[in-house]
């Protein structure tokens, strides 16, 4: 089975975000001087792909995982990490620094980049932890004319196609059957994530990482359908009482409040 996994690099979860000064005082992006990491649901998509490949190899079938990103030069480091974890090769569609692309533009670029590829399956995360539009996977499926399923928590090969478990609201699930090739968007938690081994990190250095320029695919920020007018701190609507002092003082103040409210048995 040949699997493509789409990855995005996003600010690290605990990165302190600051707004980048915009042209007329309005911010539309964050400052880039933070640390970045692989989008969490994408890391799970990669994990699911590696496990499917390993299952193929165990059955003496062929298996390959290729990773793909549309992102600036810094995203190459994330691709290396994916190679170190066990992906076989990587394709980097490089965007000019500072170019913000929406899901539509990214999906068009990905579809163009995959033009000469054969694959059985494409996996993406269900959404990114930055803008979180939750559209790239589906728009890629649309551009490639593939059937899809979203928010997937289990994948099983089944009669030449796939049987997948889709998460629904409130702890409910549903099984679906799809033909191949297909695109699935993966939910966090589908499997336990692995770490890259030292050997894997060493081997990654010799694995192929191909680069393509975004402009060579005819895509630019001008391809976006959405525009960000402004980025800001969220408006506060609730009057939260922030307790002050040392941890002991805060704890004592809270214990007193909870007793007053009869919330301590």
């Amino acid at each position: 089975m040949k699997i493509i996994v789409c990855l995005k690099q996003v600010p690290a979860k605990d990165a302190p975000l600051r707004l980048a000064a915009g042209s007329d005082g309005r911010a539309t992006a964050i400052r880039e001087d933070v640390s970045f990491e692989m989008n969490e649901p994408d890391a799970y998509a990669l994990e699911a792909a590696l496990r499917l490949k390993e299952a193929c190899l165990a059955r003496q079938e062929s298996g390959e995982v290729a990773v793909l990103t549309v992102g600036p030069a810094r995203a190459a480091q994330m691709l290396r990490e994916a190679l170190a974890k066990g992906a076989d090769r990587a394709l980097h569609i490089e965007t000019p620094s500072g170019a913000e692309l929406d899901s539509h533009a990214i999906a068009v670029a990905m579809a163009a980049g995959l033009q000469s590829e054969n694959f059985d399956l494409i996996l993406t995360g269900l959404q990114s932890d930055d803008a979180g539009y939750a559209q790239t996977g589906l728009l890629l499926a649309e551009n490639l004319g593939l059937p899809h399923a979203t928010i997937i928590m289990k994948i099983e090969p089944h009669a030449g196609g796939l049987r997948v478990k889709r998460e629904l609201e409130g702890g409910r699930f549903q099984w679906l059957e799809l033909p191949r090739p297909a695109l699935l968007t993966i939910q966090s938690g589908i499997d336990k994530l692995r770490y890259a081994t030292l050997l894997g990190i060493k081997q990654a250095k010799n694995k192929p990482l191909a680069r393509l320029e975004l402009s060579a695919l005819g895509v630019s920020p001008g391809s976006n359908r959405l525009a960000v007018a402004r980025l800001a701190m969220p408006e506060k609507t609730k009057a939260t009482e922030m307790l002050a002092g040392t941890p002991a003082e805060m704890a004592a103040a809270l214990a007193q409040k909870l007793r007053q409210l009869h919330l301590v048995p």
Binding site: L17, A134, I151, E169, G171, P234, V264
Partner: protein, 325 residues
Amino acid sequence: MSSVCLLAEQSGGKLNPITLEVLSAAQTLAGAAGLPVRALVLCGADETQAADALAGYALDKVIRVAHARLAPYVAESHLAAALAALAACGSDPLVLLPHTYQTRDYAPRLAARRGQGLITDVTALRWRESRLECSRPVYGGKLAAEVYLRAGPAGFYSLQAGAFPQPPAPAARPVPIEDFAVEIPAPRVLAEAPFQEARQSVDLSQAAAIVAAGRGIKEAKNLEMIRQLAAQLGAEVAASRPLCDSGWLPMDCQIGSSGQTVAPRLYVAIGISGAIQHLVGMKGARTIVAINKDPEAPIFEVADYGLAGDLFAIVPALISALNAA
């Protein structure tokens, strides 16, 4: 743009309650722009009563598409039906939908088929001259973005549950229901009926108090201190999704859109950032306490009492403060 069109969500003939929130947003938007509101109901052959429920509200008309291939829901069939029926909503409608697992599964492709954009997870809509600007949370709710469609307001917008809570205006005169016939080819994807994974061992929805831990507790062994605090408060232990994903606690303990929805008298969130998918499961709690080292964490936005600091110092201090009667 000739109308504001609402794409209703129903199952088994019953409207998903968020449909009414979207309807009220549609009424407000349409009122401001002087446009009619139309509702599109896609349903299985025996789910047609969903359209009757909508006809009780102030609308221009309800367009009903009933077809055996529309129940149970499959993306391809829904997409085909919506695409055909939108043609009946006038040229270039502005389409509002709820942001749910279902619309996440077909709305992006629907918008793309019409060559238009989709803005998801919208919490507020406002006209700024001829632009329709949408607020939406980004970076896990740490920032808010104002986003619009570059080609003009006609296009797709999915609205976050709870963001438009006002009830929709009732119908002043009878609202016609029009049936619209569509052809739906056999889908490539087969869907089985939804099911609940396992019997929930603890029904957290009945808990009087809950102490919930998030990724901030760092390691499974730190759950011990969470359990100790919970015991002192007579509370159940619960968690955000990443802890259940890592297997530190069973999925039964997960609070949020894909877990349980709770409304205890007391909810203590420890090391939880406050992503919207977590908030929807707990913001109905009477008294909310948040402990987080990031003073800007979105969880503080819903908290009554906020303790900004290191949980590894605060939680032990709280345990001793509660001990010292």
